[in-house]
């Protein structure tokens, strides 16, 4: 297992360390634009926008660690090792998860540093970005949980296209169901949304979504293990 961790570190250390830089990104953007933002509310909104941009950048980098392993020879070789392809996939999942954790830790650390520096300057900052950053981190976990099986099953390039096709098909189906109100779908969706996200339930709903994200990530690992060998057979080289 140590060997696989070492291999991932040697291949992807640049991307892993970039997670720290992504956490620093909002801090730099705010410093660069500090003259444009004039009041406390604007500053909070600007911090949120910068945080979302940082999440997009980090998400893009996280998918890059899936590149380079979609080769037949690597697939056969890793299957023949004592750890097997399951060990390889497990380390991949652990690494991507660690990248998300590293990013959120870095983001929150730099945000706290920014708040401390702002307080020294006499600015009063309202709210912590955690209320936005933590749900976004779980959204990122769900997104990676969908990315990885596609990348392993179809190869990185084809996997991206296949995922896009599935996503578009899913959006079209949902849109058609909503627009035509087939089987009372729109009403059921609206009513269950209204019930779930009441003021009393919002924290509970958020907690459930977070747990669903973690479960989805684990299920994604199990799916990847199932489809990996089929994928290896179809890799281009």
């Amino acid at each position: 297992m140590t060997g696989l961790v070492y291999k991932e570190w040697k291949h992807n250390r640049f991307f892993i360390l970039l997670m720290i830089a992504c956490g620093l990104l909002p801090f730099i953007m705010i410093l660069y634009n500090r003259d444009i933002v004039t009041n406390t509310d604007e500053m909070y909104n600007f911090r949120i926008i910068c945080t979302v941009i940082a999440f997009l950048a980090a998400g893009g980098i996280q998918t890059m660690v899936l590149m380079g392993d979609d080769r037949k020879i690597w697939g056969y070789w890793i299957t023949a090792t004592p750890e097997g392809y399951r060990g390889f996939i497990r380390v991949k999942y652990e690494m991507v998860f660690a990248m998300i954790v590293l990013f959120i830790t870095s983001l929150q650390t730099f945000d706290r540093l920014f708040c401390a520096a702002a307080a020294d300057k006499g600015w009063e900052l309202t709210g912590s970005i955690s209320s936005v950053a933590v749900p976004l981190a779980f959204l990122q976990i769900i997104l990676r949980a969908t990315d990885i099986p596609f990348a392993l099953r179809y190869g990185n390039k084809k996997g991206g296209i296949t995922k896009l096709i599935y996503s578009i098909a899913f959006v079209i189906i949902i849109s058609v169901l909503i627009l035509t109100n087939a089987g009372n779908f729109s009403v059921i969706l609206y009513e269950s949304g209204e019930k779930l996200f009441t003021e009393d339930n919002i924290s509970l709903a958020l907690g459930i979504v977070c747990m669903i994200a973690l479960t989805a990530y684990y299920l994604s690992y199990r799916i990847s293990c199932r489809v990996y060998l089929k994928g290896v057979e179809q890799y281009d080289h």
Binding site: M1, T2, V5, R90, E94, I100, V101, L102, I104, T105, Q108, T109, R112, L113, C115, A116, A117, A119, D120, V134, A137, F138, I141, D200, N201, S203, L204, L206, G207, I208, C210, M211, L214
Partner: protein, 283 residues
């Protein structure tokens, strides 16, 4: 094989660095009071000091960076990770709730509805999964290094007691902040220092057991994060109840706060001793 002398030397260097880090908030007290940025930087360095001390000691003594216990070992140890999540939460609840029930103030617990408790547990689980990594700054030092050096020298009980005491005394700067800033009296500060000295060996025994069982510091990191986060979760649930503003419990109930951790300490020390007996002794 490391000799006893080598072990003492390595532990000595490690403790010296940790002690220096503990002195840092006192040295920079003025800076920390004058500037929020200064406070943040010193506090972050202080929190990461045990891990840094581990790395520096390994480098200085040319010990190398093996056996850092950084592997997750997740698949085969999932039950220990679950225990690392659940036990600190249960302990924190048992530290505060029985005293309220014994004193016949059950109405104070009206915030503990099924909905609120499930929400708190789910939010803690979510937090634990993505936000506990920061505690590696402490656990990599205490469980990832100090315990490994202490155990061959002083045995299991010594590691729990001495390790727990060192760990709690390292928190002295944060315990003393209120007194130094004039917000607390010396007796209040000493009470929290003493309380920590009683509680920490309990946690130390549990974390040592987790680390030895899984050969990884990560369950201890999770348990530590849960121990910290569950205090605010329980306080939040209590805050939702019907507690009058001037409410207080008799002073003897303070003793009840320490009972769960003392039981935990004894339970895990017994487990550790039993498991040590099972390992065949080499000449």
């Amino acid at each position: 094989m490391t000799t006893k002398k080598e072990n003492i030397k390595r532990l000595g260097i490690y403790l010296l660095i940790v002690a220096a880090s503990s002195a840092m908030p006192f040295v920079y007290f003025k800076l920390m009071n004058a500037s929020q940025t200064g406070f943040f930087i010193v506090a972050e360095l202080f929190c990461a000091a045990p891990a840094l001390a581990n790395l520096i000691t390994r480098k200085l003594t040319k010990e190398g960076f093996r056996n850092m216990k950084l592997h997750l070992h997740l698949t085969e140890n999932i039950r220990y990770y679950l225990l690392a999540f659940a036990l600190p939460l249960l302990c924190t609840a048992l530290m505060y709730i029985p005293a309220i029930i014994i004193c016949d103030h059950s109405e104070w617990l009206s915030g503990f509805t099924l909905n609120n408790v499930v929400t708190a547990v789910l939010m803690l689980a979510a937090q634990g999964a993505v936000m506990s990594a920061g505690l590696i700054g402490e656990e990599l030092g205490w469980r990832g290094y100090m315990n490994q050096k202490l155990e061959p020298l002083v045995g299991i009980i010594g590691t729990v007691l001495i390790g727990g005491a060192v760990w709690s005394l390292w928190h002295l700067p944060s315990d003393m902040q209120g007194y130094l800033a004039g917000r607390e009296t010396l007796s209040e500060t000493m009470k929290s220092v003493g309380g920590r000295l009683l509680i920490m060996p309990g946690y130390a025994a549990f974390y040592l057991w987790l680390t030895k069982k899984t050969d990884s510091v990560w369950p201890a990191v999770l348990a530590h994060a849960m121990g910290n986060a569950s205090q605010s979760a329980i306080a939040e649930l209590l805050g939702m109840g019907n507690i009058p503003e001037a409410a207080s419990l008799p002073s003897w109930t303070d003793v009840l706060e320490y009972v769960p951790m003392i039981i935990i300490a004894m339970f895990f020390v017994v487990l550790l001793l039993r498991e040590k007996k099972k390992i065949p002794q080499t000449a």
